[in-house]
Symmetry: D2
Subunit: 428 residues, 4 copies
């Protein structure tokens, strides 16, 4: 039983009765849990109030499984924007299904949820050990991707017709909501289809998941652009290097890039509004003192400063104003107004960052994520994602994962440290 | 109060009475803890037995500090072999002392503990914001390093004479023991000297610390050698690529490299003995089937197979037999005996791996480690290291950190997954 | 004496009478030449017509020099946009002046020709062995740069006042014209000031110079963007990756990138006009057949398709229309008109490419360029640049180097091979 | 007609009568030549003596070809050690044969000349556009390689039986001699088999060829080891970094690495003997002054200092003594004898260097080499290699290419500049 609104209970398709075919494995006990809080004081508070402290179900192989591997057919789909590690996860799922359980029928649905919707006439691709053997050496996704929802009923029709037992959905917020809808529709129809998500968010902004794959690779790759921005800024009088990084609603990439790369003087994130006046004044002051500046801005920052477009993209997200070119133009206009010559170079490395292969750490992480997704599916879990918490892999209900965005707390420790690193004013 | 032998209590020089000079900071409360176990069941067992579950003191800035920044002098020393991130940690300590607390007198002792020992006549270097500004862009340590212990009394003499208040020691097992000896000798003399360690182990083998800096960079760098070994192995008939990686007592680098780089067929680690016969038979079988093989061996693996040297290195460690060239010779001899031509290429990339700069993730991690080391020292903690546990930074008593090596459990989950990745026999 | 308009004669300040202080050196004889043509037939034609075939003066140290090193003061200036290798050239000049000749007074003028113009009040920086020791490890230029001309008289005033004997100008077309003006003005005033240029053109478009520094590094760096564009293109239905590369008037970077990176399907260069209709039809055809496409466009390509801006940049060049965003918009509009969904990702990596440090090959090349510039200056040559021809270093008169742009011949071998690599139509 | 012993005449199988199927191509005229000397004075000397100056036949497509593409079968073989770019050359040959001429039957012989020798029972692999599409992204050779000669008669039997018209041999000195033997044996048998070599020498030591593929990549990769050696040397008291690089008979890699990487203090090459005494004294002096040193040694250097092994490797080359470990041991012993503690780290990165994929510049170069090899073969040339001279591609008779090694002249300009860079004594 879980506390308050924090319902971390995982849905199950039914009882696990089939012995696992994994010899010599240390199985995870269903009673193994991972505490939500690792702070002793908070745990004691729960206990004083006679409440069970909230916890996650622990991920890993179970001694008894739900599906019969010999009869099982599985599907994999990748949705939304590219992220380093997509191919690693696909490969890990295929290899784990085959090597750990002996599942032989695995299909990739092309171009995201389009591939599940018959109207698009994409043909599912059979995935084999051979076809996935070296895909992790390339960025992107061999399955292709697309944005936006498809008709749920049509997608479940496809799964039903193909007799898919487990659908692995690799994607972000919208994809997971789509997975939830599929799981619920399948449930209504009485179909035993497990929907297991692997949360893909290069922004690292999915709740109840401490780290998402591709994030570290993205921070590393962002470094090339920041170093360039710094070199350009130093190479000209009143040089300004402006780098736009990913981060629609959460500025984790910008913040960690500022920590990892010392040359960032201003880090602007979606969580912390700023005024143009305050920012431009601070910038002017720095140029007067130091003669150059490096600015990193998350794509969702400063949206209130621009006229709202109200356009939606294919995923149904509001199309953001382009804060990068907005800032570029505002800065140029400001200093032109002051009669002060500046040299601003604007760099938008987003597509370069997100399309690289995963680095070693992310690659190993994707391997484990994919394996734990398979273990969860084989054990009949559904409507859940594989998470990472306190160093352990966990099961997280999709409704919890999409309930809110994980964000940087502008009053918290991380942001405190970023401010200390950049030396920028706390409020602008 | 802590449970059983797991004494995680941190020593303090005295009461903290000076208000911290860090405005707008969210201070850590001394009553904030990080649980050693995050498994609900284990916590409940402690409580049933009316025991407090074991926990770490949480790292971070305190509202009241022990040292008066205006009068404080600090020292930094780096010991043992190179490790990616050393310069990042030095830089983070200097910047945090200066920016967070206003400490102005910071000295680097050259060439490890030699620099503290007057007989070596090394002159301490003053460290300034300017002198450390870009050092993190280069591998190695600007302070230089050395192995092995020095006379404790002589080192404390130096600290006493220079009126050092906090000594930051960045090093491994032996270095930390040295730090403990210094803290104890200082205590005996009634000197208020805090000794704060930042655990440096490229092998990631220090206990009660989940992750040590430089480890991820090392795994990433190991990849170049593994890819080369695979290319060489595929480029010749019965090609064998043999790569020796770091790992004296623990095979974490070899194991994670095998997870991150798919081409490894045999991963040999210190924790799991093997027989030459078993290994060579397995290798022979693979060559017959696949025509090539890639072997990764941790430097401490298979030591029982070689004649013991009994030589000690400068750090007092037993000088290991060179398992890499031993295996190379044994494999060559074995197949020569069989009249079977093989093409073995042996790669030892250790110095290349350990001397690179930290990657972005390690670099940000070092920044936080260094800052937390400073916060701990300013708050009068001593005889401790900064650790990483369940996603939080912690204080760990040196005696606990050096009490045993962290090792891979040959019957545990990690090794299970490595075996599945390489496809090698569980026992050879 | 040289043939026709190809006047390759190098100006000299006067006779070389001072013995070179370089012991054990193999000096270049003033009668050593490098033939302009290495085709036997052409040489024979010249000789039949009783003409001397055109040739370059060979670069290198002379046994007798013009300047007295003990009294000489030198200046260095870097102008125009960043280019990999700028710091290598600065460093090579300083080290050669000092080590080869013992010149001790070397000044860097900050921010390009601004630094020579007293109205900008920039203070010259003294350059020492120590201050340049590691600058080649960073991109950009430690001297800073600026665009555009300055008053020639004012610049010569500065040189005269500072008693500069050799001015090394590292820059492109405009910079070299500026250098020529300085040399001529100094000549009029009877000043013995040598002006030696090191041609800097990331586009590799300076005439009578086969290879310019930074070009190879740029082609290599362009690869990351092309691989990303390909990954993005493959990751979506009807995916299009569009990469804008440097190349104002010459498409060498785009062409060599297309040769080095196989995934380029369309290479558009300034030298070869194309119609939007032809290009869009070819693109449409490819998408129908292959489902994705990668386009590389040099920044000066297709300028006739856009409305002329007539704006000039600070260097006095016509500000180009942005062919990258123009093509992006045209392609999107075209397929929207057709009711065909495409996914276009536009990448502009220019600032990232040009700000990286030189790769090993360029770095060694810069070292030799810088040394030969010093040898030329010490031997009293002026109004010339150091060139590279047929594997040898040469002296090229500035008037020849800036007489026309080096361009790709759309009917020549190189373009032939590019067309074969991309498979694009010869005319669009 | 050629001068003296410099016979650069290319053998031909017969007259070219078939019109080339390459539309719109600028064909090379058989009367186009590339002068051996580009020094006007030397050319004039020849002419005064009524001699034709020596020249190479120019490479490139001919208007008339010898082989009928529809009936032609071709073979490719890669021999000797790995070198960056091997797969690029294979791919370029296959693509050029197919795209330029429409040749459809192309076979790869596995494992070098073994693949041509029926006793080894290797089965030739059919090479298609598809099978070579992405091979250039990986190091090594997809065909595999082997060392050493095979029975010439047996190899020609295979070619005769398979009706191979052109054999492309990619390899070094020994491989080219093998190619010559095949060409001669085929000639004796009256077989019309063209043997076209692409010279593969990572050491860049083949005569009459200015640049060989893979060399620049090798110099670049060597940098990582040199930077590591420097970092290790600086990180310890009396630190010495010792790096062994490739270079059996010629030290070009070591020399260019010393130019590209500033931290090298001693560059030892096969061309320049040194005494242990002289070297150790110089090293001792430097340690006393600077406290650290970086040494780069080509593998063929100092062979006279070691006891000759007289062993031959599979290629019939004398197995070299390992100068790297020899120097390591000698240096350690010398300073131990002096009672002076040093810290020497020895790095041998050879396999890592040679197994990487080609960099962009080498990759484009390999493309052009492969195409020119195909053009030469289609035009019925034989017993020749494709060379690079003064910026043009050329045909070089195999007997000339293998007549002697290209070496660094210890009294020449290149070595002069290396000495100036390292600061080492001219003779030790």
């Amino acid at each position: 039983m879980q506390e308050g609104k924090l319902d971390l209970t995982i849905s199950r398709l039914g009882e696990c009765r089939i012995p696992s075919p994994m010899p010599g494995t240390h199985f995870v006990d269903d009673e193994d849990h991972v505490l939500y809080d690792n702070n002793l004081r908070k745990i004691q508070e729960y206990l004083k109030a006679s409440k069970t402290p909230p916890f996650f179900e622990k991920a890993g192989p179970r001694a008894k499984i739900y599906f019969d591997p010999a009869k099982l057919k599985c599907g994999i789909v990748t949705c939304g924007g590219l992220c380093p590690g997509l191919n690693d996860v696909i490969r890990a799922i295929v290899m784990s299904l085959f090597h750990h359980y002996g599942v032989q029928n695995i299909f990739g649905f092309p171009y995201g949820y389009e591939g599940l919707s018959c109207r698009h006439k994409h043909v599912p691709v059979e995935l084999t050990l051979n076809s996935v053997a070296r895909i992790h050496e390339q960025g992107g996704t061999i399955l292709g991707s697309s944005r936006g929802p498809q008709d749920v009923s049509e997608m479940v029709d496809t799964l039903e017709r193909m007799k898919i037992g487990i659908l692995f959905t690799i994607g972000g917020d919208g994809t997971l909501r789509g997975g939830q809808a599929i799981a619920e529709e399948a449930g209504k129809r009485g179909l035993k289809i497990a929907v297991i998500g692997v949360p893909k968010t290069i922004d690292n902004d999915i709740s109840y998941v401490q780290r998402s794959f591709g994030f570290e690779t993205a921070v590393t790759e962002a470094g090339a652009a920041i170093v360039s921005a710094h070199t350009e800024a130093k190479g000209a009088r009143n040089g300004i290097g402006l780098v736009k990084l990913m981060g629609r609603e959460s500025g984790f990439i910008a913040a960690f890039a500022a920590l990892a790369y010392n040359d960032v003087n201003y880090c602007l994130i979606p969580e912390l509004p700023f005024t143009l006046k305050g920012f431009l004044e601070a910038l002017e002051k720095r140029l007067d003192e130091k003669g150059h500046a490096v600015i990193v801005v998350g794509e969702g920052a400063g949206q209130d400063l621009m006229q709202k477009t109200q356009q939606l993209d294919a995923s149904g997200n509001i199309r953001f104003g382009d804060i990068g070119s907005f800032l570029r133009d505002q800065i140029n206009a400001h200093f032109k107004g002051l009669g002060k010559e500046i040299n601003l170079k604007y760099i938008d490395p987003s597509y370069i960052i997100r399309s690289v292969p995963a680095n070693a750490h992310d690659s190993a992480f994707c391997l484990l994520l994919g394996q734990n997704a398979v273990h969860a599916g084989m054990a009949g879990r559904t409507n859940m994602v594989v998470g990472d918490w306190g160093g352990a892999f966990t099961h997280v209900p999709i409704p919890m994962a999409v309930s809110k965005r994980k964000k940087i707390d502008p009053d918290g420790r991380l942001w405190n440290i970023v401010l200390a690193s950049t030396g920028q004013p706390a409020r602008m």
